[in-house]
Symmetry: C2
Subunit: 339 residues, 2 copies
């Protein structure tokens, strides 16, 4: 049995999408149990609309909510009745609860995960690892994408180990191709951090290190995991998403700019939607906070039901495949504990 607590608040369409997506996953995964955390007076009536296995669903009432306007660290410390803090406390105290899924404030989930759940033995810094769709229909993970802005080579080495195990156990990618984000392909390229990290990754035989990656090749499909500090990772992921969105916007504007273009767009519509669909994060699970003692998955705040469904499945898969134990073993076996 895998038991997950679902933070049902904090998203643009919460709690309805949270509930719908969770129930869809519940139907598919027969040994999944869920605890829906949030405003019971909102959750209970919504639940009544669905047919589901009542034996495997509980509600944990939480009358407060953390929003994206709250300061993450402060909110975790003070909003004790919020759905996120109550979910985290349950996750911390109840050994039978394996993981948490939330679409609330990223900052609060990262801060809360680190503060309330704590790090796996040997882990210096937990890392936030989202995935992006690549242009050839695959995926690529980025570790870290924003949890740690100031990093040491040891942190990056640990990100590589955790991220590699994650891509393997969560997505079934055998020997994930791990690359170091850099400004050139040659070994000697980059700033001090990159120059000192490169040999650590190169010498570690437990990861399939394929060398440096330039950011222009991020979506190429040639890499499974990109290792970087949280500052560069955040720049990488947001500029890539930003550029893709701006291109789609420009395209849309072109399609509607004349009657002739509308006709052309109508013909292409189905296949253009396929591109949009390929780029849509709702088709993938969320990001994972790697290096904390329990599984924590974060979905986009404005995601749809389908995305929650994938997030729940992702947390379930991580637990089924014992990712956390594998991380603990790898980190301590590699003696990556001391600086």
């Amino acid at each position: 049995m895998i038991k997950l607590v679902i933070d049902c608040m904090g998203g643009d369409n919460s709690p309805s999408v949270n509930i719908e997506g969770t129930l869809k996953a519940l139907e598919e995964l027969k040994d999944l149990h869920v605890i829906l955390c949030g405003k019971e007076d909102q959750i209970a009536p919504l639940l009544e609309k669905y047919k589901y296995d009542k034996e495997r669903v509980e509600i944990l009432d939480a009358q407060d909510e953390i929003t994206c306007h709250d300061s993450p660290v402060e909110a975790i410390a003070t909003k004790k009745e919020s759905s996120l803090v109550k979910s985290l406390m349950l996750l911390k105290k109840d050994d039978s609860v394996n993981g948490l899924v939330s679409i609330g404030s990223t900052g609060a989930i990262i801060s809360g995960g680190i503060m309330k759940i704590g790090r796996i033995k040997g882990i210096k810094r937990p890392a936030f690892c989202p995935i992006l769709p690549t242009m050839n229909g695959g995926i690529v993970g980025i570790c870290d994408s924003g949890a740690n802005v100031d990093c040491s080579p040891l942190f990056l080495h640990q990100f590589a180990l955790m991220g590699s195990l994650y891509m393997e156990r969560a997505y079934g990618i055998s020997k994930p191709r791990v690359a170091l984000l850099n400004i050139g392909l040659e070994e000697e390229k980059g700033d001090i951090l990159r120059k000192e990290t490169y040999p650590l990754l190169k010498e570690d035989t437990s990861i399939n290190f394929v060398g440096n990656m330039e950011s222009r090749d991020f979506l190429s499909g040639n890499y499974d995991l990109v290792v970087c500090d949280g500052f560069a990772g955040n720049v990488l992921i947001k500029s890539t998403e930003g550029a893709c969105l701006e291109m789609l916007k420009l395209l849309k504007k072109t399609f509607y700019s004349s009657l002739k273009n509308k006709l052309g767009a109508l013909i292409l519509k189905k296949d253009i939607y396929k591109i949009k669909d390929q780029m849509d994060y709702n088709n993938y699970g969320g990001a994972v906070l790697l290096g904390v003692k329990k599984t924590i998955v974060k979905g986009h705040g404005n995601c749809k039901m389908k995305s929650i469904y994938h997030c729940v499945k992702l947390a379930y898969t991580i637990e089924k495949n014992n990712l956390l134990a594998a991380i603990e073993e790898a980190i301590n076996k590699n003696e990556l504990v001391e600086e």
Copy 2:
């Protein structure tokens, strides 16, 4: 009179595009003089094809060439007969030569500019500043985009001052909106470098600092200059270019995927080309190495004639508008000399 030395080698289509683009600029700018540097036996016959003012064109023979396969620093030190080194030496020694335009190896141009020409008084680190087209038809500059991977807050402050003056004097943008690349909009966001740079920019009344910018808004048109260290700048610019190119590739693939789509694409063709044209760097001048004692402009290595033409015009405009003197004055007035 503005006198520029044009490195005619080092590009994919050199020296023919270099010559053609330069002559086009020469025709337009009546007080421009150029020295074409490169293999005379290649340049002279090409020149014969054109009608131009022979009084304003010289050739400086250079039989060697620096390629992108050369180590930049080593090549500058050893390839004394290369077109780039000979151009740089002329620029250094001849007071009447104002600037240099090259489409050769970026690394060699940056190293050569710093080593041979030297820094403007007070400048800690010269910065490489390219521009990108924004989605609303404007442009945005990035300073630094790769010359300095390890930076201090003072370096970034100087980049902001130089870049702001550059956007103003080269592109006529009054009070350029200067933003600090960061992982969030709030003042307290970011790593140590960003946290220490923010107050420097905020307090400097000589620049129009508009706060932090997230990388997803890079092409929005809301900013004129983005300030960052060279590592983050390189990640930003290459991931943005990479994502745009990948999207165009995906689109092209869709257009050719069926007969029906080909028809739709045919209807839209003209306007889709407009998007491609809007994103085409050939329509803009190249990047500039800011903070060295003479004007150095670098164009894309695989650029077309039109791009060289814009690069020559850019170098000319920079000199006409006394950018370098303005930088020297601003840096020393602001007492940004001491760390």
